[in-house]
């Protein structure tokens, strides 16, 4: 290992990245996620929330008291649109083209994210399955904990570049690798 480091230039990863294989700490950019925004009509919040949480193949993400994102990485936009429009008291809009979904995971994920968000991500405070809108790398993002050391980040398309760069920079000391995923 130490011999390797001697032969490795300090700027190596800046120029060619870390190994092409994912390291334990990895940032996946999901190629074609389906993301819908769901808004509950006044007074219908509870029933819409319940229907969303019971829906198959979509993961609900909490944005505000009457607003959610519905995310799917397995089924197509038509299927999701059909399913969501069947929910009474809700308006749905396809946001798949306007949002970018990234997944970050690994043993150091909390250390990396603690430089990106000002929210306590301890598992007792931000539990698995929990999601919220928050500032992430100075952009308005929706962050969800999908596993003990796995988080999903949804950002507006126009801010995805700068958020991606900043996540990579914050993860550099933990040898964060990156790549597309389906």
């Amino acid at each position: 290992m130490s011999i390797n480091l001697l032969h490795r230039h300090v700027l190596d990863d800046h120029i060619s990245g870390f190994e092409t294989d994912p390291n334990p700490n990895h940032l996946s950019v999901i190629r074609r996620p389906v993301i819908f925004s769901v808004l509950a009509h006044a007074g219908r919040e509870a029933e819409v929330a319940e229907a969303l949480w019971n829906a198959e193949d979509v993961a609900p993400r909490f944005c505000g008291p009457s607003e959610w994102l519905a995310v799917s990485r397995t089924v197509g936009a038509e299927t999701v649109a059909g399913m969501l429009s069947a929910i009474a008291g809700a308006s749905v809009v396809d946001q798949s083209d306007g949002r970018v979904l990234m997944e970050i995971f690994g043993p150091s994920v909390r250390k990396i994210l603690s430089r990106c968000v000002a929210v306590d991500l301890h598992p007792e405070v931000f539990e698995e399955g929990q999601s919220a809108a928050m500032l992430c790398c100075h952009a308005t993002a929706n962050v969800a904990r999908t596993g003990a050391d796995t988080f999903e980040i949804i950002v507006p398309r126009s801010l995805a570049g700068s958020v991606f760069e900043e996540l990579m920079e914050m993860g550099r000391e933990h040898a964060l690798t990156r790549g597309f995923a389906d």
Binding site: C63, M134, L135
Partner: protein, 93 residues
């Protein structure tokens, strides 16, 4: 300035996520109220020192308007409510 605000919807958040939108206590006059009432509402505002109710917009979170009751001298925060609830409570009085 109070640097941590506990949003009733999002939890404890840094002040950078919010935009402060002014005093919450003054009551908006009716649209047909006299010019003097509107002038007082728009331009003649107190600048109190101490305990104070203020609109905070959670721009980077749930995007709801909140009412933060805080002491602008000691930075102590006494409570945070959703502005819709604050409005309802005010109307009930």
């Amino acid at each position: 300035m109070a640097s941590l605000i506990t949003c009733p919807h999002c939890g404890t958040r840094p002040k950078e996520e919010f935009s402060i939108r002014g005093a919450a206590a003054p009551k908006r006059p009716s649209p047909t109220a006299k010019d003097e009432a509107w002038h007082r509402y728009v331009y003649v505002r107190d600048n109190p020192k101490g305990r104070y109710q203020e609109y905070w917009h959670h721009v980077a979170g749930c995007r709801r308007f909140l009412v933060v009751e805080r002491d602008n001298l000691t930075h102590e925060v006494f409570g945070v409510t959703d502005a819709a609830e604050f409005e309802r409570a005010g109307a009930a009085e």
